[in-house]
């Protein structure tokens, strides 16, 4: 009796650890599977006065992983570093050139009072000896990892000219257990897969997460009531609101760029899926499409003037667009592929990421606007759910490998791919959050 009671308590503790506490060991490990042919060689020197307590953040290692993970850089192995400078004036450019680096990144950690920490850093171009960038990121002492991503963002932007998206977050769904007893979780993690936290869990399916444009909320579909319903949940507090639980399908939520409206899919009692727009303040619903076909998976253009969505009104699923108003006229926008579905609009509005199909299976494709031509970007057999990084440079998507769901990224030119390996069971439906500010 005593023993089983203890075991029960331990199991409860384990359940709490797994469910509600931060997932200390949960990781999405990044493997670069294909990179650019000529990545920029950099050296990231360990930062001075980095805390050395157990579990402390190794700032240089975080920056190194971000830059390597982008596929645009190749960082020098720490053990091979020819010196350990901590400020730009200590960097002997010739020596770093000899060890075949273009850039050296050095830095130090400076306490600001008891709660704040400043990460000071220098980016030195050793080809011309110039200090390219000197900066400081000040964060709460508990936020060193986030501060490190922000340093990586600034370095990435300085060298590539493209805003970095390392200090952003992703949300995704994980599933474990075997049918019919499965556990579905909605998770939020840093863009590198670290710091995964459970936002919601259920014994019934959870799907289609979507970020609000301010990054404060997630909309998602939950079947916890044995029917589909759409919720909007505050990421920070877990507080949530049911915004649609009509008869039949409530699906595919997508926030308008101003965050005030939600495009979604309803079927009503007749089972005919159409696109609607929900005003989040008044909960007034506007029907946008009215067609006997399946119309679903709406996504807003960045200016909020158009919805792109999937419809099989022409036979196989293709992408159509319509204005987000009652009685809108739908126009087909994807051509040149037998199958195109679940569009996501690029941040610049010039292309759509979609799921398409070729002889090898379901793959991530890019639809150029306005020509509608489809280019295939990924190489899996069951790839789906593409989502743009807020800088538009990379897409995250889900695939399957040896029966397991996995997440991967691909640069929008198809040049750089990487896999994020997870120990959280089947992972799927990644959605990249907005910039933090």
């Amino acid at each position: 009796m005593q023993v089983s009671f203890r075991l029960g308590k331990r199991l409860l503790y384990l359940a709490m650890l797994m469910g509600l506490a931060p997932l200390a060991n949960a990781q999405l490990r990044i493997d670069i599977t294909k990179g650019v042919t000529d990545p920029i060689p950099v050296a990231v020197v360990p930062f001075a006065d980095t805390p050395t307590t157990a579990g402390a953040v190794d700032i240089a290692a975080v920056i190194q992983r971000d830059l390597d993970g982008s596929g645009r850089f190749r960082s020098m192995d720490r053990k091979a570093l020819p010196a350990r400078p901590v400020r730009a004036s200590e960097v002997e450019a010739a020596r770093w050139r000899e060890s075949r680096n273009d850039y050296v990144i050095v830095g130090r950690v400076v306490a600001r009072g008891t709660a704040q920490t400043a990460i000071e850093f220098d980016l030195v171009n050793v080809l011309n000896g110039q200090v390219q960038l000197t900066g400081t990121e000040t964060v709460a002492a508990s936020q060193l990892r986030n501060g490190s991503h922000r340093v990586a963002d600034r370095i990435y932007e300085k060298i590539t000219g493209v805003r970095g998206a390392f200090a952003t977050r992703i949300a995704y769904v994980s599933v474990d257990g075997q049918p019919p007893s499965q556990r579905y979780q909605l998770l939020v993690a840093d863009a590198d897969g670290e710091n995964a936290r459970v936002a919601m869990q259920s014994s019934q399916p959870v799907m289609s997460p979507a970020w609000s444009p301010d990054g404060q909320s997630l909309a998602y579909v939950s079947f916890e009531g044995r029917a589909s319903a759409i919720y909007v949940q505050k990421v920070k507090t877990g507080e949530r609101r049911q915004v649609s639980a009509r008869p039949g399908v409530n699906g595919a939520p997508s926030f308008s760029p101003d965050g005030k409206r939600l495009a979604l899919t309803l079927s009503g009692n007749t089972g005919n899926l159409d696109i609607y727009v929900l005003d989040l303040a008044s909960l007034a619903m506007t029907r946008v499409t009215e067609d006997a076909a399946i119309d679903t998976e709406a996504s807003w253009s960045p200016d909020g003037q158009l919805l792109y969505f999937t419809s099989d009104r022409g036979g196989a699923p293709q992408i159509y667009s319509a204005e987000p108003k009652a009685g809108a006229k739908a126009r087909r926008v994807s051509f040149g592929a037998n199958y195109a579905a679940r569009p996501r609009v690029s941040p610049d509005g010039r292309s759509l990421a979609v799921v398409t199909q070729d002889s090898g299976g379901f793959r991530i494709g890019s639809v150029e606007l306005p020509s509608g031509q489809v280019t295939i970007l990924s190489r899996g057999t069951l790839d789906e759910s593409p989502s743009f990084a807020p800088n538009g440079a990379v897409l995250i998507y889900a695939g399957r490998e040896r029966g397991q769901g996995m997440l991967a990224t691909v640069s929008v030119d198809g040049q750089v791919t990487q896999r994020l390996k997870s120990d959280q069971g089947d992972v799927r439906e990644p959605v990249w959050g907005p910039f933090a500010n």
């Binding site: 509600l20 049918p179 044995r226 679903t296 057999t381």
Partner: protein, 182 residues
């Protein structure tokens, strides 16, 4: 004797078993324990974040008398061809049996749960599962079943019956489950 009569009789017996037994307790224990919990997921402050727990859903989960392990076996599951929502001829008798029972028992309600295989996008598959559930709903209505007796839900590819990325699994996943809810 009409060969479908024993089947109809079996359906009736099973439905009665369900109605008198499992049907009175709507919540499956597995679901009551963990239907849905929302928690704060901010990286900075998760320890003190709010937790919202929601009520479990209602309805038998399909493991009652009419479930795969029940006396009727798979007779409450209708299987479909790829990308199709047409009821195959071999399932016409199954649907008819349920239809006749429901038509003569107006207080009994069913939920039609539509499913798809994993090919295609998830929300599109929700649409496909809904189409399948609607096909079965219309077939039941033709037997005289009242609209108020039937509800539909589509799970798309989210609740597979079989795991795997081959036709064997796919054929088991493209289905509508007829779930008696009282």
């Amino acid at each position: 004797m009409n060969p479908t009569l024993p089947r109809i009789f079996a359906t009736l017996v099973s439905v009665m078993l369900l109605a008198s037994g499992c049907g009175t307790k709507n919540t499956h224990p597995d679901d009551a324990a963990n239907a849905g919990t929302a928690v704060g997921a901010d990286g900075t402050d998760a320890q003190t974040a709010g937790v919202a727990t929601v009520d479990a859903g209602q309805g038998s989960s399909g493991r009652g008398a009419l479930g795969p392990d029940g006396p009727l076996g798979s007779q409450r599951i209708i299987y479909f061809n790829y990308d199709s929502s047409d009821i195959r001829s071999e399932y016409a008798a199954v649907v008819a049996a349920h239809g006749k029972f429901l038509a003569s028992n107006a207080s009994v309600r069913v939920r039609l749960e539509g499913h798809s295989d994993e090919r295609g996008t998830r929300e599109y598959n929700i649409g496909l599962g809904e189409r399948r559930a609607q096909t079965v709903r219309r077939a039941l209505a033709l037997q005289g079943v009242q609209e108020s007796q039937i509800s539909t839900v589509s799970y798309g590819e989210e609740r597979p019956a079989a795991v795997g990325s081959d036709e064997n699994a796919y054929s088991k996943n493209r289905r509508v489950e007829i779930v008696y809810i009282n």
